[in-house]
Subunit: 368 residues, 4 copies
């Protein structure tokens, strides 16, 4: 029920010398993807208007509309937490409920950002093994709130994570069903797309089919984990929902002055399919990990990886051996009797050799 | 998992003609206890200073110190929700976690007031059958938060309800154990005493022994349910914790101008043990209900009543029959297979005849 | 630029013995008007549904609609600060500006309640001698905000006080002009009617003509200063504006459980024109004070009283003499060279003898 | 009384082609200073721990302590608005007052960010011609608040801008006097150092002497306007004041994952005195503008520039001529009878040729 940080305690002291290899802790340890860094350098030409009036910002809006095949509004910000909290604050009243998964980043990993930005909304969390929430869960919670009336928080919004925090990917049908249920309750739907590219690569559909055509109203689209220096974005598929959103972004300190450097990153991210190429590589590395690990006796997987994350249960001894060999990863979840669960995150920067080394190391541990 | 309101849907239309009899819905349906009404009338003599500078407010502070045998600070407000949310906002940072029971009034029945007053704190709820939370639950949640570090809300405060929302009363030992655990984690402890008098009557100890001597730092003391017109109070047993609290009360719109009428109510409430007499009567009526109902075949109780509330499971048919006879009560909790749970609340105004009538009606239903 | 409190420092120590006479400090020092107290006593008959489901609440809504000749929504609360802050939070986004007078109660006397309830809105204040604000001031401020764009708070709402904090009463034409200007800027208009009855008595028009027919969207109607125990109300003349308002009231701790006692107060307040009778008496007492004081050489008035408040400039010596004679009033405003300004507030409880005594005392001081 | 944006309306449409020359609108239109861009590229080597656990963050803390000669805490963030609002929220209670200048960035240019982050604090603004506030202004405001007691916001913090928004620089003595006054009132002092390097270059003293040795408790140090891509920082000179600050930063979405790229920018900014060299150049360009403009008949200056900003009053005709020649600058302040005020901001990227061209153009306008 956690995220990147629970395992920080386990990072070996030599982390400062972390090389490019053997890192499965998180995709936010990655460097900047080369084409994005090149774009940042290229954007550094002379003076440019600030606060979103630069040409990069304008071009980004056009490109995003084209990519998603609709008239959307896109607002770049520095972090996924900012994107999520700003998006939710726009669609939830301060006295509202936000329905999400119990392991959702917005629930456990954002230090109360959604509560802060919304002015006190309450996150109500549903359990499941794979990080997905269902229409039935939503229906039940809304029915309860309606019965409670003025004494309870008012149903406000739904937030789903695509990819989920447990490495699963909602099918288009699942997204549509959840959005339909939400809309029947007059709730807007937010998609936390911190790893949206990985989900898209899995779904093999258009960005439009993965989002607004299924009913998503607003999304956080993360680029940082998949190759950017520092760039996430809030995208409203319904322009009316974006009313005054630039005010919220500004008063949260998330309107950069030199916006050209946000625009340049995202333009490069989308250009020539870089985002999908990076995501496909990450997903492929995760799949390779599974192929190598699953057959090993003593290894079990929480479920097959659908994007770039694996949750693997191993004997405690093996985990210690892997840590000793300076593989970097997080122990994950609550203590369990059948071993220790670890999370392995592959990224666009993960190399095939890393994967092979890791599999080999597990095999060595298995034969000790 | 709920409170007074979930059942509002079930209130018969004739509610406007609700007579003094047959009401077990909630103790907040009660009229004003006669001595309190008399005090209000008596306080209406001429001009008086406003905003707490009146003599009633001064005398209340003195009396409360005497009653609780310590140098406390007492701040009357209009509602229990205000008392709870103000108290919690004083001891929890906006980025903090408030640990409580999943059925706590602050969790489900205050429409997000604690989140609002605290500036976005997050309530983290523990389950249990009787509404009590334990040191072990607290320890686990705090350990998790400490591991998560900056990514999670910071442990902020603990809130327990005495009487609990499931009708149980913490023993002095239980309160002390929970407070000790909280203090070891450097967390302040809030007691939601909306029905504190009922608990005190059960515990048969001094107010001091029931609260600050066990480690409680701040409490909400409810009088409205037990006989007042409109008076609850926040009591700080540690004066340092009350720093600037009057600012919070004022900016929440909870500083009355004619404070004499709050002071007068609470003075009368405490005078000559009225609060305990009222509570004892309510508890006795609940006990009488139990004595009458428990032996009836087909009736089961969630647990024996420890204060003035009973949770009784009956066949659906019986419940309908009771409703038809214009007994007022709430159906309670989630749907269950073994019948329908109803909540019965006795109050200082409940009459022995009400209790007898109700028992007789259940017996009639049982024999149909 | 202040309110009831600045002068608290000057209250003689014997305030606890304040008799019914000689009190001109504030109308919130008054006792409860007899018909209202009688209504409270009468409402104390048996059990009654809570949280606004009682018959008093229902009757109040009907009566208020009749009185104001429109389909309004009325929400009783405990204090004027609560009424103001709740009303403003409903019509102003958290990133919005609220335009008001620099001496407005919402600006200087509510300890930041509007900022709190709105989630951080900014009050922008205009100066004037009589407490009124003008369309020109509003136009200028809105034009500035529009030019500043995303960097400034967004125009959100307008709040005017009727009676103003400097004792003046907006004419119907003035209210209409301000509302028109506000609506042209797409801003809703709030009227702080803490002393609305006094203004209405002055205007000699219908409640409708004084409010929504002139363009007021929402008002705080105060009854406490004019005879209630503790009752103010938020009134929405546009039902759409009241959407979910009951949620805001509840989560602010301002939904009483025993609402019958709020309803009963306000029903009595409006019944048989009690509110106007009380206000007319207060205004008449203020006029009598002016008639007696104005001719005295050495006395000057800030402006003629239009409701129940006078601002009088006297030599320092005289003020001291009046204080020595145990007349109660506040010194007011900033230090000035032409003497000391005091505020005199007449109320429904002010007696002609008080007025005569005061005038006589000033005359004595003048001849010393 | 405004900032960068009021003039946005006047930016010629061809802004997208803005070349490196002729730009005096704002120092936030500048590109990234070469050494900083080089550092960003160099930091892009392989994987690195995230969330501040990277070596750049560690080295930054050490370097900042060395530079300021004390044990400080430094927290990089993306924008000056974030730095200011986070810093103020740390030292001001939600019911507090923040005292600042009426033209302060926190007052008029941050869209209510301080109100938002603090949970509703109120900014109380003082006027002056040069953007400085004085101990006497502070004393008066605090005295008023203390008299008002619970009815007013509680004195919370002081914020001064160094350089001020009107281009002036507080002397060390002035800073010390203001800090002393604040501390006598038990208020913490925040310095908005968006252009701190420009002030430091003017003062020719050590960073320590310009800040904590004079009494500053916390500062926002801006690097973006003076050469960074996107980097400002909150610096606490009193570690105790920084308690839990990382929680506030995180829940505001201002904790980057790839913190190495913030650390790398600031390390390069401080290295080899780049920040001072850049600031000195900017200041010199402003001085050159003054030297060239002041002697021209028909030109008047608000006051001599003390850092990198000039406020120049010119005949309307001349201003139009300059705009036609595609010089970029903002018209500033309220309409005036003696001409049009424009703001000229020099930056590290301003070239001597720009300055000469501008002066020549004004001379041409003067002789038309």
């Amino acid at each position: 029920m956690t995220a990147d940080t629970i395992g920080l305690l386990y990072i070996p002291l030599g982390i400062e010398d972390m090389s490019v290899t053997r890192v499965f802790t998180s995709d936010n340890c990655t460097p900047v993807s080369e084409p994005i860094l090149a774009a940042l350098n290229a954007a550094n030409a002379g003076m440019a208007p600030s606060y979103g009036l630069d040409e990069y910002s304008t071009r980004l809006e056009h490109l995003a509309c084209e990519l998603f095949e609709t008239e959307l509004k896109i607002f770049p910000v520095a972090t996924g937490t900012a994107a999520n909290a700003l998006a939710l604050s726009q669609i939830t009243p301060p006295y509202g409920a936000i329905y999400c998964h119990e392991a959702a980043h917005v629930m456990v990993d954002e230090a109360g950002a959604p509560e802060f930005f919304s002015g006190g909304a309450k996150l109500i969390a549903f359990p499941s093994i794979d990080g997905k929430i269902t229409p039935a869960q939503l229906d039940g919670a809304v029915a309860y709130a309606r019965e409670m009336g003025v004494h309870h928080v008012t149903p406000g919004a739904v937030s789903l994570s695509q990819t989920t925090e447990w490495g699963a990917v909602y099918s288009q049908t699942e997204v549509a069903a959840l959005c339909d249920a939400a809309h029947q309750h007059h709730l807007a739907v937010h998609m936390d797309g911190a790893r949206f590219a990985n989900a898209l690569a899995r779904l093999e559909c258009s960005p439009a089919n993965a989002t607004w055509r299924r009913g998503v109203d607003v999304m956080s689209l993360g680029a940082t984990k998949n190759g950017a220096l520092c760039a996430d974005a809030v995208i409203f598929f319904n322009s009316a929902l974006a009313h005054d959103f630039e005010q919220r972004r500004k008063r949260a300190g998330h309107l950069w002055s030199k916006t050209r450097f946000l625009g340049a990153q995202l333009l490069a991210y989308f250009k020539d399919g870089l985002w999908l190429a990076n995501a496909r590589h990450a997903n492929a590395m995760a799949a390779a990990l599974e192929r190598g690990l699953a057959p090993i006796r003593g290894v079990s997987l929480l479920h097959p990886p659908e994007a770039n994350e694996l949750f693997v249960i191993l004997p405690e001894q093996w985990v210690k051996a892997l840590e000793t060999e300076e593989f970097h990863f997080y122990r994950w979840g609550w203590p369990r009797k059948d071993g220790v669960m670890i999370r392995l995150v592959a990224s666009y920067a993960t190399q095939a050799a890393d994967v092979e080394d890791f599999i080999a190391a597990v095999k060595r541990a298995a034969t000790c």
